[in-house]
């Protein structure tokens, strides 16, 4: 469903993505991990064209992301994205955060949009908070709202960029639980995370990045069993110590 093929990207003279290729099939969950600054965020932001890239191609259900003729807003509307720092709209109520783009982008009837939003809020356990503002919620609650907001657009795939790394430890699980459920329902997901328990539980494959390169792309069991690359082994031993 998502094909990343030989993608390279530069910021000025600095190359941040080097010839990256990966494939995500429908219903697959792929976890992306790697040291900070290795290009994980940049890579998944290339998938919905939040970041432009100079070489290679990315296609989503056959539509080329880098093609100047592609209608990017339309493409992005079909791919959900969850950010490290939630990025809820602080001037809008929780329910409005969920209905705005349904109405303005998909052209849904406001009543239908509100019904959908309410259902999704209940699903992430926040039905009672619809009228609040994001600033009144805890980090974990905000991130669950952000997931619901993305789901409100009926995405064909979801991108997560370190969804739990800005959270206090006691709030991580409430967010991961929502993501696990989503994965088990068959959502196609690319998840940048260092939560290796999550990866073990639901990921089909683990992609390991370092210095802008995809160093390893292996089925989850293989990755945790015996990573082939030295760098992945080092990374794993560091991260699993915690």
């Amino acid at each position: 469903m998502i094909t990343i093929s030989k993608v390279s990207k530069w910021y000025g003279k600095i190359q941040v993505l080097k010839n990256c290729s990966a494939e995500v099939a429908k219903g697959e969950v792929v976890v992306v991990c790697g040291p900070s600054g290795s290009g994980k965020s940049t890579l998944i932001k290339c998938v919905n064209a939040l970041e432009p890239f100079q070489e290679g191609t990315i296609t989503v259900e056959g539509i080329s992301v880098g093609d100047p003729k592609t209608n990017l807003p339309k493409l992005r509307a079909r791919i959900g994205m969850v950010f490290q720092h939630f990025e809820l709209f602080p001037h809008l109520s929780v329910i409005r955060n969920l209905t705005l783009s349904q109405i303005k982008v998909l052209g849904r009837d406001p009543k239908a949009a509100a019904e959908k939003a309410t259902k999704l809020l209940e699903r992430v356990g926040l039905g009672a908070h619809a009228q609040k503002y994001p600033g009144q919620l805890s980090g974990g609650q905000q991130q669950r709202v952000a997931i619901a907001r993305a789901l409100a657009m009926d995405p064909i795939a979801m991108l997560f960029d370190e969804p739990t790394s800005a959270l206090d430890p006691e709030m991580i699980n409430e967010v991961l639980d929502v993501m696990v459920t989503l994965a088990k329902e068959g959502m196609t997901m690319i998840v940048v995370t260092h939560e290796m328990e999550f990866a073990r539980k639901v990921a089909n494959r683990v992609v390991f990045m370092d210095k802008g390169e995809i160093v390893e792309d292996a089925p989850t069991a293989d990755f945790f069993g015996k990573p082939r690359s030295e760098r992945a082994q080092q990374f794993l031993s560091k991260i699993l110590q915690h």
Binding site: K45, N48, L50, L72, P73, K74, L75, R76, A77, R78, I79, G80, M81, F83, H85, E87, L88, F89, P90, H91, L100, S101, K104, V105, L106, G135, R149, A150, M153
Partner: protein
């Protein structure tokens, strides 16, 4: 000169001062603020856009206006607006524009340059993640601007925008150079007519002071409230 002060002259001229003079001053201030914010915001978007040339054109306009004394711009527009009107409508002779309209156009376009810089700072103060979140939800440029970025930028900048409006409120008195009667102009007329310069100018000073002070005080209170919401 303080020997025979006649405060009654103020009482007698109150209706004229306020219903003619102050009404004009406030109308001009509010309308120029509204127009200036709208045009200033468009200029700010132009300055921040990556469409070739657009940013430079807007930047030149803003810098040009901001490097000129307001009085000069008022004069200029007073003589120029009729010709611009002629050019736009294709009329055979310069369009006669009333002094109010001329003043309104001048102040709007002049203030737009200042509001532009305020709104530009406001837009730039919104984290990049907000723009990306709006984009990721499929919002096109104008939707994300109107629904996400500008409301937040405007709210963050509201105290500064209002402070600029208070300055504008005082600056509107410069319309005397094109013989328009604002509040100060009205006070001035009575002062000359009745030979009551001290009373009238003192009174005018007090009125400007009280209104500006009350407005600044409200702005400060608003600022505190915004700080709490954020």
């Amino acid at each position: 000169m303080f020997s025979n002060i006649d405060w009654n002259v103020i009482i007698r001229s109150l209706p004229y001062l306020f219903f003619d003079g102050m009404r004009f001053t406030i109308m001009l201030t509010l309308m120029a603020t509204a127009g200036g914010i709208v045009i200033g915001t468009l200029l700010a978007l132009a300055r921040l856009s990556n469409i070739p040339g657009l940013s430079q054109i807007a930047g030149t306009y803003v810098n040009l206006i901001r490097s000129m004394p307001l009085v000069l711009v008022i004069f200029w527009f007073y003589f120029l607006v009729p010709y611009i009107g002629q050019w736009i409508t294709g009329a055979s002779r310069p369009i006669q524009v009333g002094a109010f309209l001329s003043a309104l156009v001048t102040f709007t376009l002049f203030e737009a340059a200042y509001f532009c810089e305020i709104m530009r700072a406001g837009i730039q103060s919104i984290p990049r993640g907000q723009v990306q979140a709006a984009q990721a939800l499929g919002m096109p440029y104008w939707t994300s601007m109107l629904e996400i970025i500008l409301p937040q930028a405007f709210r963050n900048m509201l105290p500064i925008l209002l402070t600029q409006t208070i300055i504008l409120f005082q600056d509107t008195s410069l319309v005397y150079v094109i013989s328009v009667t604002d509040f100060l102009g009205a006070a001035s007329k009575i002062a000359q007519r009745d030979g009551r310069l001290v009373e009238m100018y003192l009174f005018a000073a007090v009125v400007y002071f009280v209104i500006s002070l009350a407005a600044s005080y409200s702005v400060r209170r608003l600022q505190n409230r915004i700080a709490i919401i954020r």
